[in-house]
């Protein structure tokens, strides 16, 4: 037999759902642009970015109260985005795109312009999913090493080493310096 508490809980369910929907809608209006950009950098593909973001937001919706109480909503979504992207990379057609340590052929861009940006992106695109996530969270999202480690569920040391490795690849790929004007400084 239902207890008084249970009856009360069932009776307030509709109101609770309306509250969740209202709060979630507000979040949905405020955050998806930024999250989609992060998803895009993680996946490298617009359609896949939309797909992983939709899944991440759906999981957030299902866990709204639990996550909201922790005041860590964006962190939760980032974690799901990374997990979804990792899952994506386990699929056969993605695995065939997986990067190795061997960098793609190509010339060195002379200046920091559209070509240089493309060169940076080409390097990021060659990174394995976890290393790529480190790069995106550290250098795009601006998370600290500790925050990045927390999102990825890895040690700070792993974040440091993967971040360093990514930067080393960048230096190899773009000799000199990355920054605009740095080549003039070399002269």
């Amino acid at each position: 037999m239902r207890t008084a508490t249970e009856v009360e809980h069932v009776g307030t369910r509709g109101t609770e759902q309306e509250r969740v929907d209202a709060e979630f809608t507000a979040y949905l209006h405020a955050r998806p642009g930024a999250l989609l950009r992060t998803a895009y950098l993680l996946t490298g593909d617009r359609h896949q970015a939309e797909d992983v973001l939709q899944t991440a937001l759906a999981k957030l919706y299902l866990s709204w109260d639990k996550v909201r109480e922790r005041e860590a909503t964006d962190g939760y979504v980032r974690r799901i985005l990374v997990n979804e992207t990792t899952s994506l990379w386990r699929r056969p057609f993605k695995r065939r795109e997986r990067a190795t340590d061997v960098l793609p052929e190509g010339g060195v861009e002379p200046t920091y312009d559209e070509g240089q940006r493309a060169a940076v992106w080409a390097v990021v695109s060659t990174l394995p999913p976890k290393a790529r996530a480190v790069v995106v969270l550290r250098y795009y999202e601006g998370l600290t090493e500790s925050e990045t480690a927390d999102v990825l569920g890895v040690s700070v040391g792993t974040v440091k080493s993967q971040g360093s490795r990514a930067m080393a690849l960048l230096r190899d790929r773009t000799p000199g310096h990355l920054a605009p004007g740095s080549r003039e400084e070399e002269r």
Binding site: R2, L62, V124, A179
Partner: protein, 395 residues
């Protein structure tokens, strides 16, 4: 590494990120995806396994109308799932699939359904009848009964709460918009309306095999009834008797075996740690037969001796493998890799169908035999890498 380099790196990523465009996701999009996740995971219980009680089955009285009464429920710890199931039933009809808008099956069935608004779910019911669920207009869910030529024999208003079968093509169930269950058995021309009202928001999960009008067991998921509980799993008999399933060791139940004796579901769901484990559990004793953290979403074969499973993490676009395991000990009996797996179903107790995409983007329907051998290509359609397949499996 210099700060200068880091800043340049950040700037380059920011410029690149602009290419992401503008998101178009709506609340309905998110809720739709959430429904799918919830259906696959089914009845994830807040608090995890530690919060579950020791009793395998506890009586509750959530339903109203009909003969529902706590007094008519079996006592706790005395599950009676198998009382109503009939594992000896051998009749089974092969499932169908939809390709290019046409319904097909391994027995030669091929017809274009006479329905508006496309097919969102497909279920075989007997040798020459099919149930199609869809949204013909204004977003309202409707179930149509078709014959083997695709002609609509009847349409039924329905709640958007699932169209489920027994995995053999002999029984189908959905919720009417009056909140009562509709049961259609193979050979019947009209569904029976079961008198018990189910709670608003209920999601039908399964019909156990061996159904008759007098005795039929189904599982449904309802919103949580206790504070902090997301959802609960109920077993409902056709006479309105209700038991709430709480199976030690499972935080959710994704399926119950055809005879009702075993259940499978998630034993660990840890989104933060990216850990998803599944187990097969004896319903009566609560004893775990086996557990794996490598596969999930397990579905029992029609004879209950095997389960079909996919990757442990299953919420994205596709999976990387599908495998068959022994129900008894979890041993992998057969597996398929090398494709993006989109969907999978048992066809018979020995064969299963997989909707997959190969590395050229070609959409395939494959038939695999648990005893081995090369996959048989049943359907082949050109597609695009990462796009949804034009081949969809039904029940």
């Amino acid at each position: 590494m210099s700060t200068h380099d880091e800043q340049a790196f950040t700037e380059a990523l920011r410029i690149q990120a602009v290419g992401a465009g503008t998101p178009t996701l709506t609340l309905d999009d998110v809720r739709g995806r959430a429904r799918g996740i919830r259906r696959r995971r089914a009845a994830v219980v807040a608090g995890g396994a530690a919060a579950l009680v020791a009793a395998a089955v506890l009586p509750v009285a959530l339903l109203v109308g009909g003969d529902s009464s706590p007094d008519s429920l079996p006592p706790a710890g005395d599950p009676t799932v198998s009382d109503t199931a009939n594992p000896e039933v051998e009749v089974s009809y092969p499932p169908g699939w939809v390709v290019d808008g046409e319904v097909r099956s391994s027995d030669g069935t091929a017809f274009t359904p006479d329905v508006r608004g496309g097919i969102s779910s497909l279920l075989r019911i007997g040798a020459d009848r099919w149930l199609v669920g869809g949204y013909p207009g204004r977003g309202e869910f409707q179930v149509s009964l078709l014959d083997a030529t695709g002609t609509t024999l009847a349409t039924y208003d329905a709640a958007d709460s699932g169209l489920v079968g027994d995995g053999r093509g002999t029984a189908a169930m959905w919720l009417g918009d009056d909140g009562r269950r509709r049961l259609l058995l193979a050979g019947a021309e009209e569904p029976a309306t079961l008198p018990t009202l189910v709670p608003e928001g209920s999601q039908l999960l399964a019909v156990l095999s061996g159904c008759s009008i007098e005795s039929c067991t189904n599982l449904l998921e309802v919103d949580g009834v206790a504070p902090g509980e997301d959802s609960a799993l109920l077993r409902v008999e056709s006479n309105g008797d209700v038991t709430r399933l709480r199976i030690p060791g499972l935080v959710s139940v994704t399926e119950v075996s055809p005879d009702g004796a075993l259940a499978t579901g998630y034993s660990v769901v840890d989104e933060d740690a990216f850990e998803f484990c599944s187990a097969v559990v004896d319903v009566a004793t609560g004893q775990q037969l086996w557990e794996t953290c490598d596969a999930s979403s397990m579905r029992f074969s029609p004879d209950g001796t095997k389960v079909l499973a996919i990757d442990a993490y299953l919420d994205g676009f596709a999976q990387s493998f599908v495998e068959v395991r022994s129900t008894e000990d979890g041993k992998v009996l057969h597996s398929l890799e090398g494709y993006s797996v989109l969907d999978q179903r048992w066809e018979t107790a020995e064969t299963y169908l997989v909707s997959a995409q190969d590395d050229r983007g070609e959409n395939l329907l494959l038939r695999l035999h648990v005893d081995g051998g090369e996959p048989e290509v049943v359907e082949r359609r050109q597609g695009s890498l990462g796009d949804p397949s034009s081949i969809r499996l039904g029940g």
